[in-house]
């Protein structure tokens, strides 16, 4: 494992994730709305409050795991950080899928193609933006297995 590169990458990702979690919590407890371009911070107690705590924890896992990242116990923390992001983003995507299928309350059973695709249009919550970056951990897990099997 290129320790320096991994350390830098997950360090930056950890800081971004940690800040996202804090912003989630501030927006939720502030009671306001925050939307900037394609980014939207949820402000309800469940997704913003509870979810914000999960994003914050993911950031904490990344940051606490980068020291001696090549050690398995430390790398497990980084992996856990990515798993937490997958939980958040996965549930967001699952929520979108569930609301995209049925038609409107007084309309047909199923959604129109426009309505279906419209559900997936931005703005998105922070976890969705963090998702592609969190996949880097898969590369390192693969690398870890290749090294372990040698």
């Amino acid at each position: 494992m290129n320790e320096k590169l991994a350390k830098t990458y997950f360090g930056i990702l950890g800081i971004a994730t940690f800040i996202s979690g804090i912003v989630d919590l501030i927006v939720t407890f502030g009671g306001g709305n925050f939307s900037y371009g394609i980014l939207q911070i949820p402000n309800d107690g469940f997704r913003g409050g509870w979810g914000g705590l999960v994003v914050l924890s993911a950031g904490f896992f990344y940051l606490s795991g980068i020291k001696k990242i090549s050690q398995i116990r430390q790398f497990a923390k980084v992996a856990a950080g990515s798993i937490l992001i997958w939980v958040m983003a996965g549930t967001d995507v699952f929520g979108m899928i569930c609301s995209s299928i049925p038609g409107p309350e007084d309309g047909p059973w199923f959604n129109t193609l426009g309505g279906f695709l419209g559900t997936y249009a931005p703005p998105y919550p922070p976890a969705i933006f963090l998702l592609p970056f969190s996949f880097a951990v898969i590369y390192y897990v693969g690398k870890y297995f290749r090294t372990a099997n040698k």
């Binding site: 999960v54 398995i72 798993i83």
Partner: protein, 405 residues
Amino acid sequence: MKRLSLEERWNLIERITQKVVKSGKYKYKLKDAIGEITVRPLTGIPIAIAVLYGFWSIFGSFAGTLCTDGFLVKLFDAHWLPWIQNHFPQSPHWLYYLLVGDPTATNSFEAFGALTSGLFVPFGVVLPAIFIFYLMITLLEDVGYMPRLAVLVDTVLHKIGLHGFAIVPSILALGCNVPAVAATRVLETRKQRFMMMALLGVFIPCGAQIGIMQDVLPHYVGPIMLYLLLGYFVFGFILNKIIPGKSPEILIDIPPYQMPTRRNVTRKVKMRVGGFLKTAVPFVLLGCIVVGILYIAGIMDWLAGAFAPILTKWFGVPKETVGPLIAAFLRKDLAVAQLTAIKMTKYQLMTSVVLISIYFPCLATFAMMLKEGWRELLGALAVLAIASFAWGGLLHLIWILMGSA
């Protein structure tokens, strides 16, 4: 079948062991390291928070958004209800009232007939909720997360005289209290079993009730659950102090994380959902008919008048709540659905839902508790009588202090 001698048995064990057990130096793997961080409090608690977030988020999206609101409300309210209201013979009136319910109702929640609300509640709301709940629980069990959660909460549960494995009946009760009462047998002492039975019967709403709550008052499910959770710990602490008996330590064997198999998951979910339907559907139908008879005979109005002082003064809810409270003895989900037909403020609605949760276990749970012993049952009933008066009254007091009541 041939009976094996002792020597033959040992030989058989030896042959099986040689086939399935590998010996050698164990190599510490990534999944072991992840398993380790899920049981350490500093890292395990955030992971538990994330797992529970994922659990409830998927529960809400699948059961609420997709199944109930997306398709089943439409099916029952726009198609089934108007069809049966128009086609069911209006005479005799009492039969129409019992089976179809209120002829002016525009949704299946408020109609309250056995063929309207009686079908909508178990199939339109509860079935998707119970299905996704048991699917998620089964996945968590088979992946190997549940024993880790037991280790994680062991310290907290020891404060109230229970141990980590008490999380199993507690979480099962969030699906249905009936298997949860049976699961209290994982606890060692009589004291622990009694405490667990009383606490889950009073403070843990079942999946069916949560499903209806999610539909009727989606923004207040969180605060209600928190209030009930607080009651679980407060009354657990008190019971631990006053009930004699031991709360021993436990040793938990934690299996490694593993991929769940489709066959196991399917069988478990099928068995649990099937068992739930067998218990729930007859009780919901019976509940609609019994409540309908009580209304037609005028008994409900008499009961509402008799209990009015306690309901309005002590709990601060309308006297009409007596109907749902009676229905709650048969099915709590049905009772919460019935609340929607009563005019009240959101604070009164929250108090009523809490009261329905804590005032009495449903009939199926009651029967299951009786199986565990009549002494345990009487004790649990005494606990819940005190708990419902104290906890329900306290919530009313909170609303008064906040200026909301």
